[in-house]
C-alpha cells in the first residue's frame, strides 16, 4: 500500500513538472496580460457552462431507453402503493387484535397481533425503499412536473418527513417492545399502537394530497408557502380518496394476511399449526370482508366527486374509453365477494360437523342471489357485439338487458351483494349454536323481516331510480340504499352478539380441518384484491388523460397518450405478479428467522390455543373451551 502511494506521488510529481514546462515563465509585468488572456479564454467557457446549466434546468423529461420512463414509473409507483397499502392497513387490525386480546385475556389474539406486526416490520423497509426509488425516478424523469409540485407542496414534504420519522420510531418501539411491554405496561404498548395508526393515517393522507391535486387541482393563489400548500391540499377529491384508500388498505392487508395464513396452512406440518393458521386465515378473511363491505360506498362517493369536479373526467372514466375497466372491476369484485363467501361457507361445512345439511339451502339461495347480482353488475351498457348482432339488437344497447348497464342497476346489485355477504357472516357466527334467550325467537323474526324489507327497499329504490332525475337518484336514492344496508349491519351485529353471548354451543367448531382449496381461495382473494388495486390505480391515473396536472400542466412527453386497454391490462398483471413475488420474498425472510430461533426441543410449533369464550364477533364462533 505504501509503495503504491509513493509511486503515485512520484507519478503526480512528474505530471506537475510536465505542466510547469508547458506554461511559459510568468513575469510580474505580464501578469495583467495573462489575466486578460485567461479571461478571454474562460469567459466563453463560463457562458457555455451557464448555458449547459440552464439547459439542464429547462429539461422537461428524461427517458429510459428501451423501457420507457412511463412504464418504469408505472411499475415502481404501483409497487410502492401496494406495499404502502399493506403497511398502513395492517397496523389498524393488528392493534384491534391486540386490544381484543387485552380485553378478553386471550393470548391467541395477542400472538396473532404480533404475527401481523412481524409481517408489517418486514414490509416497512421495502415500502420505504420503493418510495425512495420512485422519488428519484420522478425527479430525474419528470423534472418540470416535480419542480411545479415542489413549489406548491414543499411545506408538506417537511411534514411528511417528520411523520415518517415518528412512524419509524413508533414502529420500532411497538415491535421490539412487544414482549417487554406486557402486564402493567400493556396499556402503554396499546398507546404506541394507537400512535402508530395515527401517524400512518397522516403518512397516507399527505401524499394523497399531491396525487389528488394532480387529478383535481384547485386555484392556488398568492400567499405564504404554507397557505398555498394548504389550499392545494384541500382539493375536491382529497377526502374521498383518503377514505377510499384507508378502507382499501384494510381490505388489502386483511386478504394478504389471509393469504399468508393460507400458505402457512398448506405447508403446516402438524395439527397444531393447521389449527392456528386455519384460524388466522379466518381472521384475515374476516378483516378483508369487513373492509370490503363499506368500500363500494366510498368508491361511489369518490366517483361522484370526480363527476362533479369535471364532467369530462367523469365521462372518460365511466362512459368513455376507461368504462371497460369498470366491467373488469365488477368481475374482480364479484370474484372477491364469491371467494370470501366461499371461504365462509366452507368454514361452516368443514368446521362445524353436521351443519352441511342445515345450511345447504340458505347457502344455495345466497349463491344464486350473488350470481344474479354479479350478472347484472357485469352486463355492460354498450355490449360487445358483431355487426350482425348489433343490427338484430337495433344498436349496441340491448332493449331489455341494456337497463342493467346504468348506475341505478349497479348500485342496487352492489348493495344486495354486500347484504348477502354480511348475512353469510351472520350465518357463520350463529352456526353450531342454539340461542337460549327467551326473546331469541322474536329477535330472529324481527331480523328476518328487516332483512326482507331491506332487500325489497333496495330493489324498489333501484327500479325507481330509472324514473327520476339523475340528481335525485344520486343525492337521495343511492344514499338511501346505502343507509338501509348500513342500518341492517348496525342492527344485526349487536343483536346477534347479545344473542350469541347466552347461546348454547350445540356443535363444537373444529379448526384445522379445512380442505386445501380453502387455502387456495385465501390466496386467490389476495391476488384479486391486488389486481383490483392495480386496475383502479391505472383508471385513476389515466383519467387525467394528457395532463400531468389536470388542465394546468400538459403532458408533452413522448408518452402523452393513453395506452391501449390490452397493454394496460398486461401491466396490471405484471404489477400484480411482481408484488406477489415481493410479498412472498418478504414473508419468507420474515419467517426464516423463526425457524432459526427454534431449539430442537421447540421444533414442534407452539400449540395454538383456541379456547372457548367467544365474545368478540371476530372470533367467528370459535368453539368454547371443552369441559
Amino acid at each position: 500500500m505504501k509503495r503504491f502511494n509513493e509511486g503515485s506521488h512520484m507519478k503526480n510529481h512528474g505530471i506537475i513538472e510536465k505542466l510547469k514546462s508547458l506554461v511559459p515563465t510568468v513575469k510580474p509585468s505580464s501578469l495583467f496580460g495573462w489575466s486578460v488572456f485567461w479571461a478571454l479564454v474562460l469567459l466563453p467557457a463560463m457562458v457555455w457552462a451557464q448555458d449547459a446549466a440552464s439547459q439542464a434546468m429547462s429539461v422537461e423529461y428524461r427517458d429510459i431507453p428501451g423501457l420507457g420512463s412511463r412504464n418504469v414509473v408505472w411499475v415502481v409507483a404501483q409497487q410502492h402503493l401496494l406495499l404502502a397499502g399493506f403497511v398502513l392497513g395492517v397496523p389498524i387490525f393488528a392493534w384491534v387484535c391486540e386490544i381484543v386480546g387485552w380485553k378478553t385475556k386471550e393470548a391467541r389474539y395477542d400472538k396473532l397481533a404480533k404475527e401481523f406486526t412481524k409481517l408489517l416490520t418486514s414490509a416497512y423497509a421495502t415500502t420505504a425503499l420503493f418510495g425512495g426509488i420512485l422519488l428519484f425516478l420522478l425527479i430525474g424523469l419528470y423534472p418540470k412536473l416535480m419542480a411545479y409540485l415542489s413549489d406548491i407542496f414543499f411545506p408538506t414534504f417537511i411534514v411528511y418527513c417528520l411523520l415518517f420519522l415518528l412512524e419509524t420510531v413508533t414502529l420500532y418501539l411497538y415491535w421490539y417492545g412487544w414482549d417487554s411491554m406486557q402486564g402493567n405496561r400493556k396499556t402503554f404498548h396499546l398507546f404506541l399502537g394507537f400512535l402508530l395508526n395515527v401517524f400512518a393515517l397522516f403518512i397516507m393522507i399527505v401524499p394523497n394530497a399531491w396525487a389528488t391535486f394532480q387529478a383535481s387541482p384547485v386555484v392556488v393563489g398568492d400567499g405564504t408557502a404554507i397557505e398555498r400548500a394548504w389550499a392545494a391540499t384541500w382539493n375536491p377529491t382529497w377526502w374521498p380518496v383518503n377514505i377510499h384508500r384507508l378502507i382499501a388498505n384494510v381490505v388489502l392487508g386483511g386478504f394478504i394476511c389471509g393469504a399468508y395464513a393460507g400458505i402457512r396452512y398448506l405447508l403446516a406440518a402438524s395439527q397444531e399449526e393447521r389449527e392456528h393458521y386455519d384460524w388466522m386465515g379466518y381472521v384475515g378473511n374476516f378483516i378483508g370482508v369487513f373492509g370490503m363491505l363499506p368500500l363500494p360506498f366510498a368508491g361511489y362517493w369518490l366517483m361522484r366527486e370526480i363527476y362533479q369536479y369535471n364532467q369530462q373526467m367523469g365521462i372518460t372514466l365511466m362512459g368513455g374509453f376507461l368504462a371497460w375497466l369498470f366491467i373488469l372491476q365488477a368481475m374482480l369484485i364479484g370474484v372477491l365477494f364469491l371467494g370470501a363467501n366461499y371461504y365462509f361457507w366452507m368454514g361452516i361445512t368443514y368446521r362445524i360437523p353436521g351443519s352441511e345439511r342445515t345450511y345447504r339451502r340458505p347457502i344455495l339461495a345466497m349463491l344464486v342471489v350473488l350470481m344474479v347480482c354479479l350478472g347484472v353488475w357485469m352486463t355492460p351498457h354498450s355490449l360487445v357485439a358483431s355487426l350482425e348482432e348489433a343490427r338484430k339488437m337495433g344498436g349496441t344497447h340491448h332493449p331489455l338487458l341494456g337497463v342493467f348497464g346504468v348506475m341505478s342497476a349497479k348500485m342496487t346489485v352492489a348493495n344486495l351483494m354486500i347484504l348477502v355477504t354480511f348475512m353469510s357472516f351472520i350465518m357463520y357466527w350463529r352456526a353450531g349454536k342454539q340461542e337460549t334467550a327467551a326473546w331469541a325467537k322474536i329477535a330472529k323474526s324481527v331480523m328476518g323481516a328487516l332483512l326482507v324489507i331491506a332487500g325489497i327497499a333496495v330493489i324498489v329504490l333501484g327500479v325507481w331510480g330509472y324514473f327520476v332525475p339523475a340528481i335525485i337518484r344520486i343525492n337521495y336514492f343511492s344514499v338511501a340504499q346505502v343507509l338501509i344496508v348500513l342500518f341492517v349491519m348496525v342492527t344485526f351485529t349487536p343483536l346477534t352478539a347479545i344473542l350469541m353471548k347466552s347461546a348454547k354451543t350445540t356443535t363444537e367448531m373444529i379448526w384445522g380441518q379445512m380442505p386445501i382449496r380453502a387455502g387456495y381461495s385465501l390466496v386467490s382473494n389476495a391476488v384479486m384484491v391486488i389486481l383490483l388495486m392495480s386496475l383502479m390505480g391505472y383508471a385513476r391515473s389515466s383519467s387525467r388523460v394528457h395532463w400531468h396536472v389536470y388542465g394546468v400542466i400538459r403532458d408533452t412527453s413522448d408518452y402523452a397518450y393513453s395506452p391501449a386497454l390490452g397493454y394496460a391490462a398486461a401491466f396490471m398483471s405484471l404489477n400484480t405478479f411482481v408484488f406477489c413475488l415481493l410479498v412472498a420474498f418478504i414473508f419468507w425472510v420474515a419467517t426464516m428467522g423463526d425457524k432459526g430461533k427454534k431449539s430442537p426441543e421447540q421444533e414442534q410449533p407452539e400449540p395454538a390455543k383456541i379456547p372457548g369464550s367467544v365474545a368478540p364477533a371476530m372470533a367467528g364462533g370459535a368453539p368454547r373451551e371443552k369441559a
Binding site: 355487426l387 346504468v406 348506475m407
Partner: protein
C-alpha cells in the same frame, strides 16, 4: 347430491337454450359475448356449490375423474369416452380454425357511445330559461330537424332510422340523455359525428354537424324540447327549485 355433474350439464344446456332461443322470442337476440358471460357465471355457481363439502366435491368430480382415467368405463361408456377423446381435440381445432381463418365478417366492437367531451364544452349551462314558450319552440325545431331520425316520440324510431346502423339514439331510454348534462348534448348536436374524438372510433355516427345550419340558440332550445318530450331530465348537480 347424486348426479351433481349431470345436474350441472342440464343447467348449462337449459341456460343456453333459454338465452339463445327462448329469450329472443320476447326481445332482441343476445350477443354471443353476453351469453358466454352468463354461462360462465352459471358454471362458476355450480362449481362453487358442489365443491363446498368433501361429499359434494366427490360427487361432482368423481365422474370426471373416472371418465378421464377410464375406471369402470366399459361398454357404451367406454366407446363414448374414446369418442369424446377423438372429438374434443377436433372441436378445439375447428374452433381455432374458425377464429383464425380469414373472414369478411367485421370483428365485434366495443364502441364508446359516450366519449368525453372536449374541454370547451364542459361546464356550459343552458343560457335560456326553461319557459313553456322555449320548450315549445324547441319541440318544433326538434320536429323539423331531428324527428326524421330520432322519431316523433323521441324513441329513435323516425322514418329515416331504418337506414342507419347503429340506429339513432332513443331519448326515452334512461341510459341515454338522462345520464348526460345539457352541455354534452350541445356538443354532440353542434359538432355531429365528425366531431367525435379519437376514443369514439370507429366514429360510427351519421349525426350531422348542425353548427353549420342552426344557431346556438336553436340548439339549446332543441335540447330543452328533447328532454321534455322524452320525459327525462338532464344530469345536473343542483336540484331544480
Amino acid at each position: 347430491m347424486k348426479g351433481s355433474l349431470t345436474k350441472t350439464v342440464i343447467l348449462l344446456v337449459g341456460m343456453y337454450v333459454f338465452l339463445k332461443f327462448i329469450l329472443p322470442l320476447f326481445t332482441a337476440p343476445l350477443p354471443a359475448s353476453l351469453i358466454f358471460l352468463y354461462l360462465a357465471l352459471t358454471l362458476a355457481s355450480a362449481m362453487i356449490f358442489y365443491t363446498m363439502s368433501g361429499g359434494s366435491l366427490d360427487e361432482f368430480m368423481g365422474p370426471i375423474g373416472r371418465f378421464l382415467t377410464g375406471t369402470g368405463q366399459t361398454g357404451i361408456a367406454g366407446t363414448a369416452r374414446i369418442l369424446v377423446f377423438v372429438l374434443f381435440p377436433l372441436l378445439v381445432g375447428w374452433q381455432t380454425y374458425t377464429r383464425l381463418a380469414p373472414s369478411d365478417v367485421p370483428p365485434a366492437e366495443n364502441r364508446t357511445i359516450h366519449p368525453a367531451p372536449p374541454g370547451e364544452f364542459v361546464g356550459l349551462s343552458n343560457p335560456y330559461e326553461r319557459t313553456q314558450n322555449n320548450v315549445m319552440m324547441g319541440k318544433g325545431l326538434y320536429a323539423a330537424f331531428c324527428s326524421p331520425c330520432h322519431g316523433a316520440n323521441f324513441d329513435g324510431k323516425g322514418p329515416a332510422a331504418v337506414g342507419f346502423n347503429p340506429p339513432p339514439a332513443n331519448f326515452s331510454d334512461p341510459g341515454t340523455i338522462a345520464q348526460l348534462q345539457e352541455s354534452y348534448l350541445f356538443w354532440r348536436i353542434k359538432k355531429g359525428g365528425v366531431g367525435l374524438p379519437v376514443e369514439a372510433m370507429p366514429w360510427k355516427s351519421a349525426m350531422p354537424r348542425w353548427e353549420v345550419e342552426l344557431p346556438d340558440e336553436w340548439i339549446w332550445k332543441i335540447i330543452m324540447g328533447e328532454y321534455d318530450g322524452a320525459g327525462q331530465s338532464p344530469r345536473t348537480w343542483e336540484e331544480e327549485e
